[in-house]
Symmetry: C2
Subunit: 307 residues, 2 copies
């Protein structure tokens, strides 16, 4: 393993041109449905028109059963429904999905499976997870987690720096309207699928739905999120089988504990040259001299308006 | 109403000394139970010890019925339980509370009322609210909201600036460990009760519980939050009867709509001299020249690690 802490090895080469075409799915800040211009008044009494993100209900059904109503920006409702049900353990890995029907007017998605499903009991037990809002998972939050041992996937620090730089420069709803979170599924130094939502959790579920739909494997992926590394985010990532979770943001103690237990490489407080690895540091390959990493340009720093 | 947009009126006088004693409840960043020092490795390969916030389950019972398990930092469990049940409409304004029993070992709080309660049906319907995590309210999220008309309470911009300055300088878990949200109940230019939690929603519920326990009126209060002004935050504030909601952070379209509908004064993107008012601007008294407001010191800016 190269040791770059002495600054002996090469500097980081970042792509000069940001190529959005590299994404399989990139944010679409221009999509009319996702933001609205509202009129306000600023501190000087001047009229101020600002773009704010939309927030709509989406009710998810599994066959005949109403499972939940999600508040979402409203893009990719099918992925959100599939990913939510999968991450809740209500869709099983071998479930045959006969249909995913989205109704724009009714604001519903119905996921139909060959298997007959009923989760009355599971829906009774609720856990409010951590996050900026009251969070809930159905059933036992830790259910199935004790069996999870993530693949030992080495991570080059050059990938992490390149991902952060690309993702921060990618045009997004966040950069346009704020008050939204982003989560990005990545492979090595390439961001693949960048989802945003008012609920960060929805962004993760949309990624899970996309992975399920496309049959994309998790073992060689990295999940990058703008949000905090709470127990909920760590559990979701682990249950999705993704071995690496990175964030600009901070940690909670229980999130760190779970990451260590399941073998998740957990990197937080990623800003410019800096980061802290609180789990799985032995899987990090420090192949680039941190001092060679460009400091973030001011305009690419995330403001706390996302909080 | 004074017009300070011309810069004619006086500058803002901020208290030179920050007096924590002015708070009825202030954060206690030194409380051993709330944070833990964990060891990690930084970008240079150096061992790095950082403080992270704790995150514990707390199961809330209303009489014999288990309602929910909340992930919380664990301070003020009684206030959290009371406020959650009140904000969910499961405790009625005239309910006689016979006891609030917290068990540290079992991590449970039982709230006992004279009235017999049962919310089986209500617990069946769930709405995931917006926020950094999947959020849920039980029953119809908008239930009871159509009747809400908040009192017309004038707000001086000098109060808002003074509150922001004081709150940002107040020692907090956020400043010590990050990855946590704060919500503060205020009267005019004085912050009264400053609650923090991994779930911002918990912080609001703890404030609601404190108000219920102490019989504190809402009509002349201001709620200041570090988080986004989503529909959920706006609805909670309105249901609590608080006529003013201010935040450093951004808006969602539906949050703005609801604020306008219920007569909530909604101020966001508050940073130093700047803010935007998206609802109730006619209730704002611009009694200070924004140009006289000191720009935020770098160290008091909230980093995105809170996100």
């Amino acid at each position: 393993m190269p040791d770059c802490t002495s600054g002996e090895c090469g500097g980081l080469q970042l792509a000069k041109e940001l190529d959005i075409a590299d994404y399989i799915i990139a944010p679409d800040p221009s999509a009319a449905r996702l933001t609205r211009a509202v009129e306000g008044v600023d501190q000087t009494g001047e009229i101020s028109r600002i773009n704010v993100v939309e927030e709509r209900p989406l009710t998810i059904f599994l066959n005949a059963q109403e499972i939940v109503t999600a508040m979402t920006i409203g893009d990719y409702p099918e992925y959100l429904a599939l990913g939510f049900l999968r991450n809740q353990g209500m869709l099983l890995p071998d479930d045959r999905i006969n249909g995913v029907d989205y109704d724009d007017d009714l604001e519903t998605v119905v996921v139909r499976t060959e298997r007959q499903t009923s989760y009355e009991d599971k829906l009774k037990k609720k856990t409010r997870t951590s996050g900026c809002a009251v969070g809930t998972v159905f059933g036992d939050m830790m259910e199935g987690l004790e069996d999870v041992r993530l693949p030992v996937t080495p991570v080059r620090t050059s990938w992490l720096y390149a991902l952060a730089a690309t993702i921060n420069r990618t045009p997004s709803l966040y950069l346009q309207a704020g008050a939204i979170h982003g989560t990005v599924l990545c492979h090595e130094d390439r961001p693949l699928v960048y989802m945003e939502d008012v609920g960060r959790h929805n962004a993760v579920d949309k990624i899970a739905g996309w992975m399920l739909q496309t049959g994309t494997g998790a073992e060689d992926k990295i999940l990058y999120t703008t949000g905090r590394l709470t127990s909920e985010m760590v559990i979701k990532t682990a249950m999705m089988g993704i071995p690496v979770l990175a964030s600009r943001s901070g940690f909670t103690a229980w999130g760190v504990e779970i990451a260590q237990q399941v073998g998740l490489t957990l990197i937080g407080r990623m800003r410019g040259q800096r980061f802290v690895c609180l789990a799985g540091d032995e899987r990090l390959l420090r192949d680039v001299d941190p001092a060679s990493v460009p400091v973030e340009e001011r305009k690419h720093r995330r403001k706390s308006s996302e909080a």
